[in-house]
Subunit: 251 residues, 2 copies
């Protein structure tokens, strides 16, 4: 009986509620590293380590999205998804998110060449981010799209982050954080589309479960990057061999 | 001048010395989690977490080796490499390494179904191990083979581990650690072959550098798994959402 009920298709409302419940439990706004970052309890080198490592994630987002683009079957879907790549890579004179993240990293005192090289990032960062790229290539299109649903939860954390960092860190300016200015609106548009796509295309209970699992996977991709940062750079700090050490510029 | 010298092919002796120097600096015998494990400074649930997570690594080794097998061009090479898969998957009545690892995990008190399910492992474990499997599929055959060279360094750590665990943990028996009985000999044969292959096939300096980079990558795969374990399970302990918590049996 329970077994049967568990297998029944969820209503759209229940399905969306299940999606949101995963965010409430597993999104990285709950991670202790973010709590330290937003509360001003990190030193500058720790904020630098965050900016350096997070750059690798940013740099792979349009690659991830290009893999999804290559799998979308209609021009209408590809036009919709293409906007994400433009947001990150820029267009004409308009800077994209990646350039803005480089500016953020420079703004907190990192060398641009170090950041762009990707050298010195934590293996935990690289493995988590690469797992995300592999996931969208290897899983179903529905799961690939579902893995972007973490953007449903990002507008709140961005507001909290910008307020907290501006209030607490004298070395952080509004200009440094320009990356975040447009992200809440972009993230809302992107995740509204992705959620509608998942509601429409998850026609069997197992599709719905695959969507939820893809979202859990993506939450783990984000969470795991903060685990690696926290372990490496917060007291006592265990920087792994080959990774950036505070004070290092170009390697 | 220096630039030119740096580009020159290393002699076989220098090349092998460079391989060994990476092990001396980056192999996971140096990781603080291993020092705690071998010195008897972990509690039983922490040893269980190690056994549970390390099972996922063990379980993917023959898959990794099958990908390499599929890329080897001659029967002679495939016969050589096939032995690794037999060592892990067993043959006839002879248990392979994976079954012995399950016995190890049961020996320290874990539920077999939990272990085999792969549920509850740390995302950091999964991402690192999957990165290894992807690496051997996507990089050159030389790099794929080179990534196995960490086995050059494993006989020492195995001796230290078995001695330390038997001495310090009352819940660990020699039978529980049977996995390790044959590994030093197998690892020596395997890594002697892989090293000879790399010396022979790395004909340009950039091939030699690719071998060294592949070995650094693999050291990071091993090291990163211990980072994740240490962060999650050693005081204060930050178990990520969805991962095993001490005391949990089947999920």
């Amino acid at each position: 009986m329970t077994e049967l009920n568990e297998r029944a298709l969820m209503s759209p409302d229940d399905f969306v509620a299940a999606v949101r419940a995963i965010g409430a439990e597993r999104y990285h706004h709950l991670h202790p590293f973010h709590r330290l970052l937003h509360a001003g309890r990190l030193e500058k080198p720790q904020v630098q380590a965050w900016a350096l490592n997070r750059y690798y994630y940013q740099s792979q987002i349009p690659i991830k999205d290009a893999h999804i683009l290559a799998r979308l079957p209609t021009g209408a879907l590809r036009r919709e998804w293409r906007r994400r790549i433009i947001d990150h890579d820029g267009e004409g004179e308009t800077r994209g998110g990646i350039d803005k993240w480089i500016a953020l990293a420079e703004g907190v005192g990192l060398d641009r060449d170090l950041v762009v090289s990707g050298e010195g990032i934590l293996p935990g960062t690289r493995f988590a981010v690469d797992a995300y790229v592999h996931f969208v290539r290897e899983r179903s299109l529905l799961e690939a799209i579902a893995s972007s649903l973490t953007e449903l939860f990002s507008p709140d954390i961005i507001g909290e982050r910008v307020r907290g960092m501006l209030e607490h860190y004298p070395f952080v300016t509004r200009e440094t954080l320009a990356y975040f200015d447009k992200r809440p609106g972009q993230a809302k548009a992107d995740s509204d589309f992705a959620l509608a796509y998942c509601v429409e295309h998850a026609r069997r209970r197992e599709d719905q479960e695959a969507v939820l699992d893809a979202l859990r996977f993506k939450c783990a991709v984000l969470w795991s990057q903060l685990d690696a940062l926290h372990y490496a750079y917060v007291e006592p700090g265990h920087v792994p061999p080959g990774a950036w050490r505070p004070g290092e510029a170009v390697r």
